[in-house]
């Protein structure tokens, strides 16, 4: 798993390629290297209910009411009721 700006919970996206650093201020690139203030943002790929990702990082989610469904690993899970680390 990567530790880039886009993986950090202190990154507020502006658009698909950049965002604002909530910790230090200013605009940063999505791919920039993280700093000591890095806080991993919950994503499906870090959830205990996520399994078997393929080469596209599409895996299986078993944490919601439908029992099982494909999901993209890099999807943010900050609003997911089934997220478990």
């Amino acid at each position: 798993m990567t530790c880039q700006h886009i993986d950090c919970w202190n990154y507020q996206a502006i658009d698909v390629v950049k965002g604002i650093c909530l910790k230090h201020g200013g605009m940063v690139d999505w791919a920039g290297e993280s700093c000591p203030a890095f806080v991993r943002k919950p994503k499906c790929e870090t959830c205990a209910n996520f399994s078997n990702p393929d080469e596209d990082n599409i895996g299986t989610c078993t944490g919601l009411s439908d029992g099982s469904h494909w999901v993209l690993g890099s999807r943010p899970a900050t609003t997911c009721e089934g997220y478990r680390e």
């Binding site: 202190n10 507020q12 996206a13 502006i14 658009d15 698909v16 390629v17 950049k18 604002i20 909530l22 910790k23 201020g25 605009m27 999505w30 791919a31 596209d56 990082n57 599409i58 919601l64 009411s65 439908d66 469904h69 494909w70 999901v71 993209l72 890099s74 999807r75 943010p76 900050t78 609003t79 997911c80």
Partner: protein, 914 residues
């Protein structure tokens, strides 16, 4: 075309003949033509907070995401077998409830469509053929289907600058020619679109429509750019004045209680309606579910702030987050108590509307008058200052501007990325008094401080409005943002009264009208709100979407179709049944024009009815219906006649009117009266583009830049005669008579037609950017316009270079017919900044507006800009990121406008004196 082949430009040829296209009017010759005149600097400045947010906006790219699509689809799949309306409600609620909160430091009012500043997304269940990822199997399938909509996508142009993502970037791909999508989301997009393949409204609609006579004609209307069909697949709702009444008066919990109570009252009861009576219980249940989803969405913001506040080091920012949290926690459930809470719930209402369905023109209406009760109470009780209110209004300008719309290239070529958040100011109260208030004034000033495209402003003009208010509005116009536009109260009220009288509209209710979209007159109503125990009456939208149905018929194209016996000369398609008439008289030509036009409308209406009927069966717009007055009373959504007024849902929309009038005038004069040319002479000239290269070969779409072919001189005489033939816009009864005859017919025949709701249609006359889309795809026309040249904009703007006798002659031409018979008419003028300088200039501008309004004109708007600046901005777009211009009913950033429209804007007659 090689350098050796280049010959003369059109302007050179005409000057040799002693006739010119006159692109300037008025002035005393004192303007220095070597200097670019700037717009007047009136000294307004934005707050630091608004400047910072605006700077973020300028840097932001148009971005899309699969977040909403994934969540909606996943829940939809889970609920297979459920009643469609409930399945949609639950999927929608789930999608709302799982939207990532987006909060930027420094904001005071929070909320965004998605997790991006300029974020938007398509609804694949509606249409997905235009945005499936390249390389996917579906991409090849949809391409090979060769559907008419994708053919149209290939024929149009959109702006390539500003925030448009026109090519792939590291980490992101370009989708639909404009939107960036994270590369890692592409596999998810593929799986989502795979699921919906075959199930989309577009595909279901086309399968069903293919069994109906006229299906091929419908698709060819789009392919030939004669009419923009299939709008239900692309923008099924919008051009509507939003009502915020229910969230403001009841709050979200209160709305849910209304639904729950109504559900218990109607469950299992037909109550005299054997067809739709039982549907009411499902509607109330569905709406309640969606509102809970929206409530959860707001709750996500509260939770994010709960997370963020302890982590925030900056004390000021922390305090602001706490205040935002308190606001959100309240309005998540309860009606607002303060101005700030009112703005916040208004904002979430707005976002929910444009997330629920692909919508263009969900306009806030008379927002200054809607929010006034909370402003008034806060000011009286010392809870807020005018400076604080102004700061919020400034920020809202950036927020509204950031709303984006994910549509196809063809739709983007029409809308130019605009979302038409039209705030109407002024107008009248229920009892006919001027309705302008302090907030209306502050909306004007916020526009002077923060130069953004949204919200666009409209003044509902009436003679009773205070002079200082009208002068303030004129002052804003001078800054060059292209607004406010002006709409005539009396004309607009007469229209809604006429169109909606059979639905119970009365004079006092007609005064509640406002503008949806860019220029769509909407029926309104009056509602009473209670704030801190004090009652206020506010205006409210009262109808669902408007001007669906028959979108944009290219009027000049129909002239050519008559001339060429139903054949589209650009594509070679036999579009309409050959009439095989000799067209020996002008009257015969005109009769055939009307016959062809009505045939086209008949085709579009038939399929538009089918599409919207399917839309209401498959994907009713529940939040839209929850907020539109009438629906919660009747228990039906806006497409099942739930709104108070339903007869504005379908209209007949036209474009290129002035080129049509000028073309008919040319034929009438040169062929039928003077007999100098035959119709075959005209046909030959048009087929050979009057001896000129195509506009697309030149790379310019304005007449002045067109270049003659080496062997093209044979057509010099017929071309100059066509250009010299009587023209609209100079107070000439010859051309004006043709316009009047057209309007008398065009305003009448739609009312005999019926929408899928069995309501009469009406005429709508605006161009948005279709004068580019259609003009660029039309061959030469009998008015002398060359192939590919953008049509004259709007509906009553003179063709560039032809309004030789000044504004008052133009007004005389424009007002030769009863404009209250149409939903709208549209007039643009371009004024040199020096022509209206200083206080005297402001007064002149206000007087110019008055002159047009009292003559019976419905709408007028202005570009205040030196044409030389536009020419320079075309060459150096990087230096003009924040330059805004008025296109036709909307303002857009210059860099995000397509070249054909840019060329047309440059070509518009520049008034150096008024």
């Amino acid at each position: 075309m090689t350098t050796a082949e280049k010959t003369r430009k059109l302007t050179e040829i005409l000057e040799e003949k002693g006739q010119g296209l006159n692109f300037k009017y008025g002035g005393d010759g004192s303007i220095d033509q070597d200097v670019i005149a700037e717009r007047e600097d009136l000294g307004y400045d934005a707050s630091e907070r608004a400047k910072a947010l605006l700077d973020d906006y300028y840097q932001a790219l148009a971005s899309t995401t699969t977040e909403w699509q994934y969540n909606f689809t996943r829940k939809w799949e889970e609920l297979e077998g459920d009643l469609t309306i409930l399945r949609r409600a639950k999927a929608q609620a789930y999608a709302f409830a799982h939207l990532e909160p987006t909060i930027y430091p420094g904001e005071l009012i929070v909320g965004a469509k998605t997790n991006y500043l300029r974020g938007s997304f398509g609804n694949p269940w509606l249409i997905q053929s235009f945005f499936v990822a390249k390389g996917s199997e579906l991409y090849e399938k949809y391409k090979s289907d060769s559907n008419a909509r994708s053919d149209m996508d290939k024929q149009v142009q959109i702006g390539t600058g500003g925030g448009n993502v026109t090519h792939d970037l590291p980490g992101a791909i370009s989708l639909a020619g404009k939107f960036g999508l994270r590369t890692e989301e592409v596999p998810a997009l593929n799986k989502i679109t795979e699921y919906w393949a075959g199930k989309t409204l577009e595909e279901v609609g086309e399968r069903i429509s293919s069994t109906v006579p006229g299906f091929d004609v419908k698709n060819n209307l789009l392919r030939t750019a004669t009419s923009r069909a299939d709008s239900a697949y692309t923008i099924p709702v919008g051009r509507q004045v939003v009502s915020y009444y229910y969230p403001l008066q009841y709050g979200l919990d209160g709305m849910i209680e209304i639904c729950d109570q109504k559900y218990l009252e109607v469950a299992g009861q037909a109550d005299g309606d054997g067809y739709g009576g039982l549907d009411r219980m499902y509607f109330y249940q569905a709406v309640g579910i969606v509102i809970k989803g929206i409530r959860d969405w707001i709750g996500n913001y509260v939770k994010e702030l709960d997370r963020r506040i302890p982590l925030t080091d900056d004390a000021k920012q922390k305090s602001e987050y706490e205040q935002i949290r308190e606001t959100l926690a309240w309005i998540q459930h309860k009606p607002p108590r303060t101005f700030r809470e009112a703005v916040q719930i208004m904002w979430f209402t707005q976002l929910a509307l444009v997330n629920e369905e692909v919508a263009s023109g969900m306009s806030p209406g008379r927002l200054g008058q809607v929010l006034f009760p909370w402003y008034d109470q806060d000011i009286k009780n010392g809870r807020i200052t005018d400076d604080e209110v102004m700061e919020i209004l400034e920020l809202m300008r950036v927020k509204f501007t950031a709303i984006d719309l994910f549509v196809s290239t063809a739709s983007s070529s029409v809308l130019m990325g605009n979302t038409f958040n039209n705030v109407a100011l002024g107008g009248l109260t229920r009892d006919g008094r001027p309705a302008s208030n302090k907030l209306d004034w502050m909306f004007l000033e916020a526009a002077e401080r923060v130069p953004t495209t949204q919200p666009t402003l409209s003044v509902l003009w009436d003679e009773k409005l205070p002079e200082d208010f009208l002068l303030k509005a004129a002052e804003v116009v001078k800054m060059g943002s292209g607004f406010p536009a002006y709409m005539n109260c009396r004309v607009g009220q007469d229209f809604v009264l006429d169109q909606c009288a059979h639905e119970g509209m009365k004079v006092d209710e007609a005064r509640a009208f406002a503008i949806g979209g860019c220029l769509e007159t909407n029926a309104g109503t009056w509602k009473t709100v209670t704030v801190n125990g004090v009652e206020y009456e506010i205006p409210s939208g009262a109808s669902g979407a408007t001007v669906n149905g028959v979108h944009f018929i290219s009027n000049p194209s129909v002239v050519n179709l008559v001339l060429f016996n139903g054949k589209d000369m650009r594509t070679g398609i036999q579009l309409l049944p050959p009439h095989d008439k000799k067209l020996e008289t002008y009257e015969e030509f005109w009769e055939q024009y009307k016959a062809y036009y009505e045939f086209i409308v008949g085709i579009q209406l038939k399929f538009g009815n089918i599409q919207h009927d399917l839309h209401r069966k498959m994907m009713p717009t529940l939040w839209n219906s929850a907020t539109t007055p009438g629906c919660l009373d009747k228990g039906h959504d806006i497409e099942h006649m739930g709104a108070m007024y339903n007869s504005t849902f379908f209209g007949v929309e036209s474009t290129g009117t002035v080129n049509m009038v000028n073309s008919l005038a040319s034929l009438k004069k040169l062929v039928y009266e003077d007999g100098k040319y035959t119709l075959d002479d005209m046909r030959d000239a048009i087929e050979n583009n009057f001896g000129f290269y195509l506009a697309s070969e030149i790379g310019s779409y304005s007449m002045s830049e067109q270049v003659q072919k080496p062997d093209g001189a044979a057509y010099d005489e017929i071309l100059s005669d066509c250009l010299a033939a009587p023209k609209y816009g100079v107070g000439d009864p010859y051309a004006d008579g043709i316009l009047r005859e057209y309007e008398e017919w065009f305003c009448k025949f739609p009312r005999a037609l019926r929408s899928f709701m069995d309501e009469p249609l009406y005429p709508c006359q605006i161009s948005v950017s279709t004068h580019g889309t259609f003009g660029n795809n039309e061959v030469a026309t009998p008015d002398g316009r060359l192939a590919g040249v953008t049509f004259a904009d709007a509906s009553l703007s003179a063709a560039p270079g032809t309004d030789r006798k000044g504004p008052y002659a133009l007004f005389e031409s424009a007002c030769c017919w009863d404009q209250s018979q149409s939903q709208n008419s549209q007039m643009n003028m371009k004024i040199h900044p020096t022509a209206i300088k200083g206080d005297a200039g402001t007064k002149h501008l206000a007087d110019l507006v008055r002159a047009y309004m009292v003559s019976g004109g419905f709408h007028i708007q202005f570009n205040v800009v030196d044409s030389k600046m536009l020419v320079k901005a075309q060459k150096e777009p990087e230096n003009y990121r924040d330059l805004m211009v008025r296109v036709a009913g909307f303002t857009q950033y210059w860099v995000e406008i397509s070249k054909p429209i840019q060329d047309e804007l440059i070509a518009r007659t520049e008034y150096e004196g008024v």
